[in-house]
């Protein structure tokens, strides 16, 4: 398979990364070593060769490596988000850059994913410290979460239309499944799902995964539709 037919990682291009002079070091051993020896500011930018080395650690097959790269990046973004870091994409790329830098410097890494996770934890700690500095003195009052936005009829129609288009675009069995799966609340919802799993002859967990994947497709479609009609 052609390497260039990969959905090659799309970069958020930044200025060359400046490594911090101080790093937390209580994370996994390999990962903390990766930044602890940086005694002064260095400028480093990834090259296609280091990207190639990184991808090769994910899979020997380049197409598969590209997919695994995307999955790993999504996991990193979610990790930072779920851990309360802002600028999650930036943190994910920073983590990957640091791992690539260490590989470029010839560091031997036995547990690659564990190493990436270790670096991510360090980046998270650094980010929390930066966020603490940025936090206003009086943060006792949290801003309201839900903006009481009145949706204009035209906007509501647009959303509804996108939903209808996207749900119609799903295969019939997927559409029926999602309509049935997400109906009702509380006990009734649980019973309905059990019954649905029984009818389909699959375990409840398999049904949850199936519904989740259909929902993901539907959400992506709606987002695209709304963006196109904005």
């Amino acid at each position: 398979m052609n390497a260039y037919h990969l959905d090659l990682p799309v970069f958020i291009i930044r200025e060359p990364m400046t490594l911090p002079t101080d790093s937390s070091s209580d994370s996994s051993e390999d990962a903390s070593d990766s930044t602890a020896d940086v005694s002064k500011k260095q400028i480093w930018a990834p090259t296609p060769e280091t990207l190639g080395m990184f991808l090769a650690r994910l899979s020997p097959d380049q197409e598969d490596a590209g997919k695994k790269y995307e999955t790993l990046r999504i996991k990193l973004v979610r990790f930072f988000e779920w851990r309360g870091c802002h600028q999650t994409d930036y943190c994910a790329d920073k983590t990957i850059d640091r791992v690539m830098q260490k590989m470029d410097e010839g560091q031997v890494i036995s547990n690659f994913i564990g190493f990436v996770f270790g670096v991510a934890r360090i980046v998270a700690k650094e980010t929390w410290r930066e966020q603490d500095h940025e936090r206003p003195l009086d943060d006792s009052v949290s801003p309201p979460v839900t903006e009481r936005v009145t949706v204009e009829p035209e906007e509501a129609e647009r959303r509804q239309d996108c939903f209808d288009r996207c749900i119609e675009a799903l295969p019939a069995d997927g559409r029926n499944l999602i309509i049935s799966y997400y109906q009702d609340q509380g006990r009734k919802k649980i019973d309905r799902r059990r019954e649905l799993a029984r009818k389909l002859g699959i375990p409840l967990n398999a049904l949850r995964i199936r519904a989740h994947r259909i929902r993901k497709t539907l959400e992506e479609c709606i987002q695209n539709c709304l963006a196109q009609r904005a």
């Binding site: 291009i13 296609p48 979460v145 749900i167 989740h212 929902r215 709304l226 963006a227 196109q228």
Partner: protein, 322 residues
């Protein structure tokens, strides 16, 4: 994930930051190493979002979820989508119920026949007269019906003939579709072969700097008078990395969604979520994803609530290089 504890509950506790640091760390190690565990957490996120939207979360968890929501534009956006999903599904569900209850009513109406059977003597006499009248009229009708049946048979034959012709047309159509599919497949195979050859060619290049070279493409806003025409770029013969550079008039958003499409709205790549560097957005894509054609790069700003608002369209044209 700890055994004996509901996995979904552990994932929920993780998302709401109710887990102990040690348990959270263990779960993180697990989901980095195992895609299935990661998917379970995503499912727990779906459920939390739905329960938040439907007001089903207990007060404490409602508050914790709002903390999460406050720091995550993505989750805020998913909450909006979940509202749309809940409304749409409830509407669709009601439509299904309406259809099934109409069917139920039809079934009931057929059982009303008992109501029409007369009970008193006078009613029975009237009913008998009516039956007699029906028999006489019926005989006349029967004769007409025989004639009609003959006409109907002839009609059925012509209809069957038409159906046969229609079937033949469908079969012919299917044959065309199969041929078209075969052609598409062979075209794809040809493209894959071309791509493979491109890679081989690229591998033979000894000059490594050329191998990793990046081709910057500075894009102008669609219809911009400064440029007059679309940016014209020669598609290189060997694979390269295109770096699309888009200058923003103002940097009003923290994040942007960028989609690359052909002029006929076929999405080539995206939407990609990017962060502007000053007033500059950059996106790298491989040249092999492109063919000679006109392209539109749509840039939308993402509001803190996750809504995409169109900012600019940028255009460029790729022509075959010599």
């Amino acid at each position: 994930m700890p055994e004996g504890i509901d996995k979904e509950e552990v994932s929920r506790q993780y998302l709401l930051r109710e887990l102990s640091p040690e348990a959270a760390l263990r779960l993180e190690e697990e989901y980095f190493a195992n895609d299935e565990v990661f998917e379970q957490i995503e499912i727990a996120e779906d459920e939390l979002i739905d329960e938040y939207v439907k007001g089903e979360l207990p007060q404490q968890r409602h508050k914790l979820f709002e903390d999460l929501l406050r720091n995550s534009p993505r989750i805020a956006q998913r909450v909006e989508l979940a509202k749309l999903l809940a409304q749409g599904i409830s509407r669709r569900g009601s439509e299904q119920i309406a259809v099934s209850s109409t069917a139920d009513r039809v079934v009931h109406i057929t059982s009303w026949k008992d109501l029409f059977w007369p009970v008193s003597v006078s009613q029975q006499i009237t009913f008998a007269a009516a039956v007699l009248l029906l028999v006489v009229t019926g005989t006349g009708l029967f004769v007409s019906r025989l004639r009609l049946r003959e006409a109907s048979r002839q009609l059925s034959e012509s209809q069957a003939e038409l159906e046969r012709k229609q079937q033949a047309l469908i079969a012919e159509n299917n044959q065309h579709a199969r041929e078209a599919k075969q052609l598409t497949e062979s075209l794809r195979a040809q493209e894959a072969e071309n791509a493979r050859l491109q890679t081989e060619l690229e591998r033979t290049l000894k000059n490594e700097s050329q191998l990793g070279s990046i081709m910057p493409i500075l894009l102008s806003i669609a219809g911009s008078r400064a440029e007059g025409t679309n940016k014209v770029v020669k598609l290189p013969a060997e694979p390269r990395i295109f770096e699309l550079r888009m200058t923003l008039e103002e940097q009003n958003y923290e994040r942007y969604a960028v989609t690359v499409k052909t002029a006929d709205e076929r999405v080539i790549s995206g939407p990609h979520e990017l962060k502007a560097n000053g007033k500059l957005l950059k996106l790298r894509l491989t040249s092999t994803r492109f063919r000679p054609d006109d392209y539109i790069v749509t840039v939308s700003g993402i509001t803190p609530s996750g809504k995409a608002q169109q900012v600019e369209d940028y255009t460029f044209r790729l022509v075959r290089g010599k």
